[in-house]
Amino acid sequence: NAGVTQTPKFRILKIGQSMTLQCAQDMNHNYMYWYRQDPGMGLKLIYYSVGAGITDKGEVPNGYNVSRSTTEDFPLRLELAAPSQTSVYFCASSYVPPGTGELFFGEGSRLTVL
């Protein structure tokens, strides 16, 4: 019962570097999401996807890109990392639209940009 799997769990980047956070789910969920969580600020939606090939921006998409080539995978790309992107990133998935059902979260990826 893997659920939502995120890699890596921890990463330190230098300013200007790029990287991809991986997210995979084995529950055949159509809906997938990327959130970032800063201390005391709650969860902010970065991007989401309603199915393979379909993505859309959330509240804070600047500096990030996503793709959804398969139902299972939803990678998040950080281009030209900046200190403001230091955060904990959570990937989530749901079988139904979030207004009607539960979001299943991965364990998170802690990113530090120095």
């Binding site: 809906y31 999401y33 959130y35 005391g40 600020m41 709650g42 969860l43 902010k44 939606l45 989401y48 309603v50 859309d56 959330g58 509240e59 959570f90 639209p97 979030p98 207004g99 009607t100 059902g101 539960e102 979001l103 299943f104 979260f105 991965g106 364990e107 998170g108």
Partner: protein
């Protein structure tokens, strides 16, 4: 569109009750509640839909006042395992913004023996 949660923090003794509130400036379609323990992922507690009734599971229940655009989470006879940060998430309307669940800043609940 971020909902406002209150209080920011609550400290309880085991067995005491607590109420966490969540309010929005926009008309709400649904309200979700999650609990997150330190260093872990958020875990779903319950969802309340417009027109729905008060939901509950054992000693944790919630209500949704659509007219006031508010929801409250009730923790009765708290246990040590209730400690964590509680988040409400709100969805204001459907249609083109499908998938946009906005979370509050969280309420940190600490239960002492």
């Amino acid at each position: 569109q971020q909902p406002v949660q209150s209080p920011q923090a609550v400290i309880l003794r085991e067995g005491e009750d607590a109420v966490i509130n969540c309010s929005s400036s926009k008309a709400l379609y649904s309200v979700h509640w999650y609990r997150q323990k330190h260093g872990e992922a958020p875990v779903f507690l319950m969802i309340l839909l417009k027109g729905g009734e008060q939901k509950g599971h054992e000693k944790i229940s919630a209500s949704f006042n659509e007219k006031k655009q508010q929801s409250s989470l009730y923790l009765t006879a708290s246990q040590l395992s209730y400690s964590g940060t509680y988040f409400c998430g709100t969805e204001s309307y459907r249609g083109s913004t499908l998938g946009r669940l906005y979370f509050g800043r969280g309420t940190q609940l600490t239960v002492w023996p």
